[in-house]
Symmetry: C2
Subunit: 483 residues, 2 copies
């Protein structure tokens, strides 16, 4: 395999790396165990040497890894192994690793760091990175770190921390290069060479005036293709996309995706350049959203450290279960209202779950489409009715289709045409309710400024369950019982 992508090889074979790490840890533990057993000094010496040798091997292995990969390895290890490995990693890498690793794991690592270590780590980070770590750090350490920063960095850290999470202000960093529009490209080129370092992910320089008001952007590509004696003013773009500090991460990622941006300036209400956003932030945000939704949809409040103590993981899941239990109780009480009916016609008990569950499934399909439509702003005042009636029609169509299927099912089982008709009617009605709820619950939630992704599905299922039982058993009471 070509040497040039051995970094990637790590990334691909992280699994193998993990196995090796585990293997070395095991060996070393084993040897230590032996040491304890055999207490003749000579043995001990030999064994502990062997043990050391394994640690050295492990240390070497770890040194080759990219911080992101180290974060991965640490996340995949049980707490005690995790800490053992952590101590083998050179402190210079701590900062990068903490920034890369999942919150739960990050906390477990910081909890086991000496205060002076934390401060040492902070010294090697950019102010926006420090700001990212701050929430995870103990109060007093935070204070000490801030006092040790020079005024400019302290200001930056504080400004970033001031902005609410998920806004441009909180996501931005300060790795940007600014130039004036009256100089020529040659000056810029010489300036860059003098700098000797251009921040990662810089694809454009920002053109600002004396009051750091943004005038335009100078893409590196333009800088490269134009004659050195052209002036920045002639080459720079004054049609470009910028963000205000209070723009939401969602808006930002949509713009980056729509317009294929790599970086963008962040400005304040006076059009002064205050920071910049890189596509890496956006990629992380979109991916984090994907991960969070997967968990939230299952009612997990936060990502769990796979090796967190049981009670902690348990708590993470209770709120959701309690909620679902309540809805289940309600459904149960609604069935309770019809106990006499069920007693007289027990077939109802076997058929009622069908009405409820199909209602829930169709409703959730509508919810998914509405949420998507809302997220992409594709559902609006003009087409809402069109969309709404379409969903109603589909649910009617489905109701008649699946209603007849279950009707036939009921007929075959119980040779009772009236029961079959009640079953069919209940299906049609519950599917209509499912469509109504599937449209109005997410729309309502987002009208109230809540995220429809959370909660829509629970509320809908609660409704379709209860109504499913109510309609079916209600109709049965009216039409199937002798009066």
């Amino acid at each position: 395999m070509p040497t040039h992508n051995n970094e990637l090889r790590h990334q691909r074979n992280l699994h193998d790396t993990l196995l090796q790490v585990n293997h070395l840890l095991e060996k070393q533990k084993l040897v230590n165990a032996l040491v304890r057993k055999q207490d003749t000094p000579r043995h001990e010496l030999v064994q502990s040497l062997v043990a050391k040798q394994h640690l050295v091997e492990l240390k070497h292995k770890l040194e080759q890894l990219h911080p992101a990969d180290l974060a991965f390895v640490l996340e995949s290890l049980p707490l005690d192994d995790r800490l053992k490995v952590w101590e083998l990693i050179p402190v210079e890498k701590y900062g990068a690793i903490l920034l890369e690793s999942a919150e739960a794991v990050r906390d477990s690592l910081i909890a086991n760091m000496e205060r002076h270590q934390i401060i040492h780590v902070a010294e090697h980070l950019d102010s926006d990175e420090i700001a990212d770590l701050m929430p995870a750090l103990p109060k007093d350490t935070v204070f000490e770190i801030l006092t040790q920063l020079d005024s400019q960095n302290r200001e930056q850290v504080q400004s970033v921390m001031r902005f609410p999470e998920g806004t441009a202000g909180a996501l931005m960093d300060f790795d940007m290069i600014t130039v004036r529009e009256d100089v020529n490209l040659d000056t810029v080129l010489r300036y860059l060479r003098r700098l000797g370092k251009i921040p990662h992910q810089t694809d454009q320089l920002f053109v600002v005036d004396r009051n750091s008001i943004i005038k335009g952007v100078l893409p590196l590509t333009e800088l490269l293709i134009h004659a050195p004696d052209d002036s920045v003013h002639d080459v720079m773009r004054n049609e470009f996309i910028s963000f205000y500090t209070d723009d939401s991460a969602h808006e930002i990622s949509q713009a980056f995706e729509r317009y294929d941006l790599i970086s963008a300036p962040v400005i304040n209400s006076h059009n002064q350049l205050v920071g910049c956003l890189g596509v890496d932030v956006v990629v992380d945000f979109i991916d984090a959203t994907l991960q969070r939704e997967r968990l939230n949809q299952a009612g997990l409040e936060e990502e769990e450290d796979l090796f967190a103590p049981v009670w902690k993981s348990g708590r993470n899941r209770w709120a959701w279960l309690a909620l679902n239990l309540m809805t289940a109780f309600i459904a149960s009480r609604i069935i309770g209202m019809f106990e006499d009916t069920i007693e007289k016609l027990v077939a109802l008990a076997t058929l009622m779950p069908i009405v409820a569950s199909i209602g829930g499934n169709t409703g959730n399909q509508t919810v998914a489409l509405v949420i998507r439509g809302l997220a992409l702003k594709k559902i609006n005042a003009d087409n809402f009715l069109h969309f709404f009636f379409k969903e109603i029609t589909i649910s009617l169509m489905n109701g008649i289709l699946w209603g007849s299927v279950v009707g036939v099912f009921a007929l075959l089982l119980y040779q009772d045409i009236r029961l079959a008709l009640v079953m069919m009617a209940a299906m049609i009605l519950n599917l209509l309710i499912a469509a109504l709820a599937g449209v109005f619950i997410p729309v309502g939630l987002s009208k109230c400024g809540r995220d429809p992704v959370m909660g829509s599905s629970v509320m809908l299922t609660a409704l379709t369950d209860s109504m499913g039982f109510f309609i079916f058993l209600g109709l049965a009471t009216i039409f199937l019982l002798p009066h």
Copy 2:
């Protein structure tokens, strides 16, 4: 608002844009209606002039929009309006719009394009873009487009089309600049100026030898900070990440995210540079995954054109509903086995849905964690057992906790301690089953090379429902009925 982000303003106020477009369409329709009514030639002339005037206004509005935004507008319009607007858009923009718009909408547009239009559009696209459109185009047109391409482009198109969807080969494009390692930076700079254009999202040049075997990469930033008389060989990086044509989009997006890449070379098994990948592709891929999962989890096979005909949308949802109906039938039959028991003790009918639904909910939480663990390769042979027993313990804990809650609930309702105990026991057992299934179903699916995101949840719910009813009613039959 600063002029420099009026592009962004479009993006932000796409909603308003949409309203304006709709408004103009309405006006124009209205006028045409009038024209039809009043048939005195003079009136007609006036009216049609007014109508034209609105169209001109609309046309002007559309010309200002970015292709991505035009795609958005088109997607948000009912078919007839969509086609009317489509005809007002300058043909030069067609290609970009088709590439940006959702499949369903893209098809509706292409279906209404003249063959010569399509070919004209293709002429203005890069070969990788043509390859992206090909699947959506009618066969004969594809052939004609291929014949009109020069040999190099035809080869590129065909090579891209040859690679399976979702691989580096199918995603790569050919907008890259290559240099030799023996020249010095000044030569490179002059070469770039001569080129006069550097492809969008170029952050590095690729260094290849005569046989186009890749030797290293030359980041633009390095090119800018080093002295012009340095040689490429001294400045280039030979530690960099590249992809093979058969690497999966998932691997690629993980690497881009992990290592904050902006572009990466795609090589064949001989290490020859064959194409390159940009971060924009990755952003689109991650976002597409997010959108697809939202739909799939609700059992929608594909994204629906909000304005697709009802029957078409209906079909999109049937497979899932049929599947769920089957599982519901099974659950129903399991209840059916215990009709006598229910007849004797109707309380069971009201309580049984609780056991089933809580089982489903806890199981799906486990599923979500396992799927995540698998996706990030965090669950592996070494820690599987650890993780497995943890889930079992949590489910036991939850079982006892929630089991007692529902037990008390049952006790209060029916003053029957034995019923309460049966309820509690059933909860504990069903939660254990939920944990087992929650771990083994996704693991099993991915062992069989299937995507656990699809199907895991249905299978689990089917199981927890059926078993929930079976265990609860079974225990009740054994312990609560007089023998």
